[in-house]
């Protein structure tokens, strides 16, 4: 089983020992891997990353902060995770219309809008590649993001479907490890607040919204406030072809950008 470590426990002596032990075993340098999809101007400051032991992959670690170091002021960073990619085409929405292309297009639009508003964005893919669910979660968790949006599309239903994780919210102790596939349980309460902001913004944009909870990878492995956002045809009569409509994509992206701007205020006022 894979495990992730909560951000607030990064300074604990137990974790430092664990990191030192893992480094001795694997002989790996404590370096940070390149961040896929991060533009040079958007790169957030280096922060410690969760410890993700996995015998099949090199552990990615940063130097731990000294116990006396002042707390790091986290920047407001958004992670966009366009689903599928590569050979995984996702849903076939129509002749030549694939889910992986639709979500990548909307992700690109949303990223541009957020950058224009001064919000740094990290994407899990910006081309027709297919990172694994664990890779996507690792990118998001390493970024210590303030919001993570997993983007999908479907030909079923209408408007925008918002899903939070179906995991029961849980509070883990300072030194407790969290199961990798249940990491979202620690942030689920904030995810619901984020869903509320996004729901409001989509409503302001006159877009029908469906809210629900689901079990989805990599959503359940995100430690950030996270949503799965699924784009459906604009209305029942328009069919899946409306998903390729650039004006519809821009409208949805603008509403999501507005929601994340609102979330920037709410997130800073979190308890």
């Amino acid at each position: 089983m894979r495990w992730s470590k909560q951000a607030r426990s990064r300074n604990s002596p137990r974790l430092l020992l664990t990191i030192a032990f893992a480094s001795a075993l694997t002989g790996l340098a404590q370096t940070e891997s390149p961040r896929p999809g991060v533009s040079q101007t958007d790169a957030p400051p280096p922060v410690p990353v969760p410890f993700v032991p996995d015998s099949t992959k090199p552990a990615i670690l940063t130097k731990p902060q000294a116990p006396s170091a002042p707390p790091i002021q986290l920047r407001f960073v958004v992670v966009l995770d366009p689903g599928h990619g590569g050979e995984d085409t996702g849903a076939k929405l129509g002749p030549g219309t694939l889910e992986k292309d639709i979500v990548l297009s909307i992700s690109t639009r949303l990223r541009a809008l957020l950058n224009a508003k001064g919000i740094p964005v990290i994407v899990t893919r910006d081309a027709d590649t297919s990172p694994t669910a664990d890779d996507r979660a690792a990118i998001a968790n390493r970024a210590k993001a303030a919001a993570c949006l997993s983007l999908h599309a479907t030909a079923t239903g209408t408007g925008v479907h918002l899903f939070t994780s179906s995991l029961t919210p849980a509070n883990y102790g300072r030194d407790e490890f969290i199961p990798w596939n249940e990491a979202q349980a620690t942030a689920n309460t904030q995810s619901v607040r984020l869903a509320s902001d996004v729901n409001t913004a989509l409503g302001n944009g006159k877009l029908p919204v469906l809210l629900g909870r689901t079990a989805l990878r990599p959503l359940n492995s995100f430690t950030c406030p996270a949503l799965a956002v699924e784009f459906a045809p604009v209305n029942a009569g328009s069919g899946a072809a409306s998903l390729t409509d650039s004006s519809y994509q821009q409208r949805v992206a603008a509403a999501l950008a507005e929601a994340l701007v609102a979330w920037r205020v709410d997130w800073r006022q979190r308890p």
Partner: protein, 205 residues
């Protein structure tokens, strides 16, 4: 004036018609009797040993993401695994009907349902639902439709067989990551979870 021989000939023809009509009616009655006797002697339908029961199906609706409890009357077998299988076959048959609110492919959808007692519990069990590969392949891809299908199955099982507390899904007897690219099939679904009631569009999560 009609000649005498013509009148005799006409009378003979009319008499012949009447005789033939009576003969045909008689033959028809005999044929009916023969068919009736064959029908009585041959069992055309399997004997029904149980009376139909009222069950509750949680039917999904794609337009508002809801699950609506609907009463149906179906005949269920005696043993619990078979009851669960018949329940799910009835549920998924509803989705294959024209004008379904959650259209799914027709055909064999449920290969088998197994019930296993949960460790440390005498009254609760976990249902392992083995879906057919054809059903998974033809299932609409998307978080909403896949989640609704799983919640509909989970909720229907728990509503009619309350001892089922958890549900796991297989495809053709094998574990699989997702149903049709999205909904996670590697986890165990809690049947009594309030997840069954997905908020309607515009509601709060």
């Amino acid at each position: 004036m009609i000649p005498r021989y013509q009148r005799i000939l006409f009378s003979i023809l009319v008499l012949g018609c009447i005789v033939l009509a009576v003969l045909l009616l008689r033959l028809r009655e005999r044929a009916q009797d023969r068919m009736q006797s064959v029908r009585d002697e041959t069992p055309m339908e399997a004997p029904i040993a149980r009376v139909p029961e009222k069950v509750q199906l949680l039917l999904a609706n794609d337009s508002d993401g809801s699950l609506v409890a609907t009463q149906r009357s179906i005949t269920l077998p005696a043993d619990a695994p078979s009851r669960a299988r018949v329940l799910l076959e009835s549920l998924l048959a509803e989705y294959a009907k024209p004008n379904s609110t959650h259209p799914l492919p027709s055909g064999v959808a449920v290969e088998e349902v197994f019930l296993v007692d949960l460790p440390g519990s005498n009254s609760s069990s976990i249902a392992v639902v083995d879906l057919s590969a054809a059903f998974a392949q033809g299932h609409p891809s998307g978080i909403a439709p896949e989640t609704l299908t799983l919640l509909s199955i989970t909720g229907t099982l728990h509503a009619n067989l309350p001892e089922i507390a958890q549900v796991r899904f297989l495809i053709d007897g094998q574990t699989r990551d997702t149903l049709a690219g999205h909904a996670d099939l590697t986890r165990t679904y809690i049947a009594a979870n309030p997840d069954v009631d997905i908020p309607a569009a515009g509601g709060r999560p």
